[in-house]
Symmetry: C2
C-alpha cells in the first residue's frame, strides 16, 4: 500500500507540475505583453532571464514521467496522463519561449515602442487573449475539469480575429507602416498566434487525459489574407 | 518467444514510422520550396492537400506507442524510444505544417512570386538547408546512427546565417521592399527557421534514444537584428 500511495502522490505531482508550468507560461506572457505595451526594458529582461526556469522545470517533469513509466505499469487515465505530459510540458515550455520572444521584441526597440500607436490596441488585445487562454489551461489542470479545457479552442477564435485585424491595420495607408515595423509586427503577431495554438494543443491533451475522448477539431486555417497561416 | 518477437517487430515499426514521417516532412519541404521558387500553384496545392497524411500517420503512431506502453513493460532504450516518439512525431508533423505554410504563401501570391527577385536566392537557400536537415534526421532514423543525428544542430547554423541575410536584404534600400513583401518574407523566414528548429529538436531526441546521453546545447539566440528570434 505504501508503494501505491507513493505512486498516486507522484501522479498528483505530475498534475501539479503541469499546472505550475502553465502558470509560469501565463505569467511570462503577462509580463512579456506589459514590456511591449509600456516599452519597459526591465520587465522585458525579467521575462527573458526567467525563461530558463520553465525549461528546467520541464526537464525535471520529463524525468519524473520517464521514471514512473519505467517503474510502475500505468494504465488507463494514469497512462494517458503520463504520455500526454511529455508533449504538453513541451507545449507549455514553448509558450514561455514565445512570451520571451515578445519581450525580446520590446527590448530590441527600447526606448522606442516596437508597435506603432495605430496597432497598439490590437496587439495589446492579442496579449490579453493569450494570457486568458493560458489561464484557462492552468485552471483546467488545477481542477481536472474537462469543461475548462474544452473552452480553450473557442477562445482562440478571438485571437484569429485580432490577428486579421492586425494585418489589415498594418497594410492600411493611414498606419504609414515601414518595412521595419512590418517585420516586427508580423513576427509579434506570429508569436501571439503560436502561443494561442500551443494553449489549444495543451488543452486538447488535458481534455483527452480526463475524458479519454478527443475534442472535436476546428476548421483548418488559411493564409493571412483570408485568416491565419 | 512469439510475444517477444512481436514486441520487437512493433518497436522496429515505431522506428520505421518515425523515418517515414521524416521523409514526408522532407518531401513536403522539397515541394513547398519549389512551389515558392517557381510560383507553381499545382505543387503548392499538392503540399497543402498532402499535409493531412502526416497528421494521420502521426496519430496512428501515437496509438501504437500508447498500446506498447500499456501492454509491455519497456525499459532502457525501448522506453526512451517510446517516450521520445510522441514529441518527435509531433515535431515531424509540425515540420509538415510549416512546409504547407510555405506552400500557402506561394498560393496566396500566385501567379506572382511571393518573394521578390533580390531575396529569392536567400529564401531558396533556406529551403535547401531545411530539406538537408530533414534528410539528416531521416537518415539518422533509418540507420539509428547517432553521429548523423549529432550533425543536425551544426547544419542549423547555416539557416541562422541565411535568416540574418534575409533580414538585411529586406531592409536594404535597393531591395525596395514594401509592407506587403515585408510581411510575406518575415513569415516565410520564420517558417523555414522553425522547420530547422524542429529538425534539431527531433535529432536531439533521436540522439538521446540511441545513446542515453543529451547532445550539448547550442548558444541561445537573440532578436533578428543580432541573429534570430
Amino acid at each position: 500500500m505504501q508503494a501505491r500511495s507513493q505512486y498516486h502522490a507522484e501522479l498528483d505531482h505530475v498534475w501539479q507540475s503541469l499546472y505550475e508550468l502553465a502558470e509560469l507560461a501565463r505569467l511570462a506572457m503577462v509580463r512579456g505583453s506589459l514590456a511591449l505595451e509600456e516599452a519597459d526594458l526591465q520587465i522585458a529582461e525579467q521575462v527573458i532571464a526567467g525563461d530558463v526556469q520553465l525549461d528546467t522545470r520541464r526537464a525535471e517533469l520529463d524525468e519524473l514521467v520517464f521514471t514512473l513509466l519505467a517503474t510502475q505499469q500505468p494504465v488507463a487515465t494514469d497512462l494517458r496522463l503520463l504520455t500526454a505530459t511529455i508533449p504538453a510540458a513541451a507545449g507549455l515550455e514553448r509558450m514561455g519561449d514565445l512570451a520571451a520572444h515578445v519581450a525580446r521584441a520590446a527590448r530590441l526597440r527600447y526606448p522606442d515602442h516596437a508597435v506603432p500607436e495605430p496597432l497598439r490596441a490590437t496587439i495589446t488585445g492579442m496579449g490579453e487573449v493569450a494570457v486568458g487562454l493560458a489561464a484557462d489551461v492552468a485552471a483546467a489542470l488545477a481542477s481536472r475539469d474537462p469543461t475548462l479545457a474544452a473552452r480553450v479552442p473557442a477562445g482562440d477564435e478571438e485571437m484569429t480575429r485580432l490577428h486579421r485585424q492586425m494585418f489589415a491595420l498594418l497594410l492600411a495607408e493611414h498606419t504609414g507602416a515601414r518595412v521595419n515595423t512590418a517585420i516586427d509586427v508580423s513576427l509579434l503577431g506570429r508569436y501571439f498566434e503560436r502561443y494561442a495554438d500551443q494553449a489549444v494543443s495543451v488543452a486538447r491533451r488535458v481534455y483527452f487525459v480526463i475524458t479519454a475522448e478527443h475534442l472535436a477539431p476546428v476548421e483548418p486555417r488559411e493564409g493571412w489574407s483570408g485568416g491565419r497561416r
